[in-house]
């Protein structure tokens, strides 16, 4: 299992809310000024465990250039050729102020075959590699990476319509998509949460200080009693966190998705999909 660390902040700007996380974060991950932060990051997150890159177990899709650095779509896939359940997955943005964007742990309803996918949107602060590291059933680590050109995603004030964006914090939209073929192994689900997901790097115009980090930190997604995944999310996740994922399709059963999310202020939000999809 990966060590439990998440978030996006800098050494220079330690706010109270992130101090506890700082303590949990290995020093090497934030102390390096090297051009390539990955070796230290790898050591901090995975210790001495071997990571195999480019063995076809995982792929990552990201735009070459982030047109909006505050909303960069990322898709991580594990092809159908990979058999067996996945244990965990990490999404790491090397040069973001806090590189670990998300860490997922999968449950039985995530499935053990078929093409598994996770799609989300992240903030990207500068030209950087973005990596997905998947832990397979045998405990081995597999990596794919993509280079993204972006600037300023972490400090960009994301809400374009500031009042509209803050009008309904915690509103959740959860969907289950009907697969084209009823017998297919996996189907798609979607979780959207209205939340500013403040990075702690945005300026408050009144105090001229930084807006405190305030973000969705934990999310649990289930199908009935079965866990699809748990995620620890950091502030590299864009405003209004959005997760599109695959999960086990029950051709004649209950495919409704239930979601519990907790933000850094310890507020809990819940949501669920209708049993049948709204669209296919």
């Amino acid at each position: 299992m990966l060590s439990k660390i998440a978030s996006c902040f800098t050494v220079r700007r330690i706010a109270g809310v992130v101090t506890a996380l700082m303590l949990a974060m290995p020093v090497a991950a934030i102390a390096s000024d090297d051009d390539d932060p990955w070796p230290d990051l790898q050591k901090s997150v995975f210790g001495d465990r071997q990571i195999v890159e480019g063995d076809g177990v995982v792929t990552i899709e990201a735009p070459e250039r982030a047109e909006d650095p505050a909303v960069v779509p990322i898709t991580i896939s594990v092809p159908a050729t990979v058999q067996g359940p996945l244990r965990s997955m990490a999404l790491i943005i090397d040069k973001n102020p806090a590189p670990i964007a998300a860490k997922f742990e999968f449950g039985p309803a995530a499935g053990s075959g078929g093409e598994r996918r996770m799609t989300t949107r992240v903030r990207v602060d500068t030209y950087t590699f973005i990596r997905a590291i998947v832990e397979t059933e045998d405990g081995k680590l597999h990596m794919a990476k993509a280079f993204v050109k972006a600037s300023g995603g972490c400090s960009a004030p994301a809400p374009k319509d500031a009042d509209g964006a803050n009008a309904d914090i915690g509103k959740m939209m959860v969907r289950s998509y009907e697969p084209e073929q009823a017998q297919t192994a996996l189907r798609d689900g979607l979780v959207m949460i209205k939340h500013p997901n403040n990075s702690g790097l945005q300026i408050d115009q009144v105090s001229r200080g930084y807006v405190p980090a305030w973000f969705i930190r934990d999310i649990e997604v289930k199908r009935g009693d079965d866990l699809i995944f748990n995620a620890d999310l950091g502030i590299s996740i864009s405003t209004n966190p959005n997760l599109r994922f695959t999960y086990v399709n029950d051709p004649d059963g209950n495919n409704a998705v239930q979601v519990t999310a907790i933000d850094s202020a310890r507020t809990t939000f819940t949501g669920a999909s209708a049993n049948r999809a709204l669209a296919n």
Partner: protein, 345 residues
């Protein structure tokens, strides 16, 4: 005046030097509907970028303004990204002269280009500049404000403009500095409004009233429409783009609502934030409306089909390619913003 679309190489090809009058070489397609007189009023313009190098402090000749209606002057900027060459002169700005005073509407994108604008105004009228109005928070419309500070005007804007600009101040300044370079950026700082428009505000320039109306979120969440009641001239800021692709930093649905509202009670003429100096509704709005309806329609369809943001950035609105300048620079960003808004419907 900087001829909007010409490069230094083109100038060289035309054989114009800084000592020559160059109005005959203007790219007139940028100034449709202007009379000869209006073109002449615009001045004996030449490039503010001499062939032998950059003189960032000021232009050799006044910046060009067209008098689009009596006492209403507009300067058109280039359709480009910020650069050392254009010094932030990439949007439209104007001023209106009353019996007693002058109101400036937007100030372009740097302290120096703002100073050029101020010098041009002073060459046309010696009435005091009492108001500097910003149509919204974007750097290419507000970074010249500082050049007017010594006039001690009221800086007027939508009541949400200060919040929006302040939140983005660091990013805007850093990005502008790196795009313009130290020399062209020098002196640029943020000047916030001193007079905020909650809903509607009327300014009196002496025998001439300007009506300022705060809009709901559209191009940004702080768009302000300025109407010169005397001539029925409406400065739309970036609620209207022509030739240059529109850019979304507010609400697509809100923008389409504003377009409908404008179509239902059209003024005599409108001034876009990017595009020609003067246009008429409905023709002025046709391209922009078609663009946003196309983007909204495509994005809604993709969302209904269960497609992702990434899918949408590859296909939505691609039928608009070739119809706009700066399409590659802004379209995908527009689709991203549209998707993030419309997926909550």
């Amino acid at each position: 005046m900087v001829p909007p679309a010409r490069t230094r190489n083109e100038e060289a090809a035309f054989g114009t030097g800084p000592d020559q009058e160059a109005f005959s070489l203007w790219p007139r397609h940028r100034l449709p509907g202007l009379t000869r007189r209006e073109l002449l009023i615009a001045g004996m313009a030449i490039s503010s970028v001499p062939l032998w190098g950059h003189f960032p402090a000021q232009a050799a000749e006044p910046m060009a303004f067209s008098e689009i209606a009596p006492g209403v002057y507009v300067h058109t900027g280039r359709h480009e990204l910020q650069s050392a060459d254009n010094r932030g002169d990439m949007s439209n700005a104007g001023f209106i002269v009353g019996d007693d005073a002058v109101a400036v509407i937007d100030t372009l994108g740097s302290a120096q280009i703002g100073a050029d604008m101020r010098a041009a105004i002073k060459s046309i009228t010696d009435k005091p500049i009492r108001y500097v109005i910003n149509t919204h928070m974007h750097p290419d419309h507000v970074f010249g404000n500082v050049a007017f500070r010594d006039d001690k005007p009221e800086f007027v804007a939508h009541h949400k403009m200060a919040r929006g600009l302040s939140a983005r101040a660091e990013t805007y300044l850093n990005n502008t500095k790196s795009a313009l370079g130290e020399a062209a950026f020098a002196g640029t700082e943020i000047v916030l409004p001193t007079l905020e428009v909650q809903d509607k505000l009327t300014l009196d320039l002496g025998g001439r009233e300007l009506v300022l109306e705060a809009q709901p979120a559209a191009h940004t969440d702080n768009d302000l429409i300025v109407t010169d009641a005397k001539t029925g001239t409406m400065f739309l800021g970036d609620l209207l783009f022509s030739e240059h692709i529109p850019t979304l930093d507010g609400s697509l649905r809100g923008w389409l609502t504003v377009i409908d509202k404008l179509e239902s009670s059209p003024p005599a003429r409108v001034v876009p934030g990017h595009g020609p100096a003067s246009m008429e509704i409905p023709a002025a709005l046709a391209d922009e409306k078609r663009y946003w309806q196309t983007v909204a329609g495509d994005v809604r369809k993709l969302i209904a089909e269960g497609k992702t943001l990434s899918d949408a950035t590859k296909t939505a609105g691609q039928s608009e390619r070739g119809k706009w300048e700066m399409f590659d620079q802004y379209h995908v960003r527009n689709v991203t913003a549209a998707f993030a808004e419309l997926e909550w419907e």
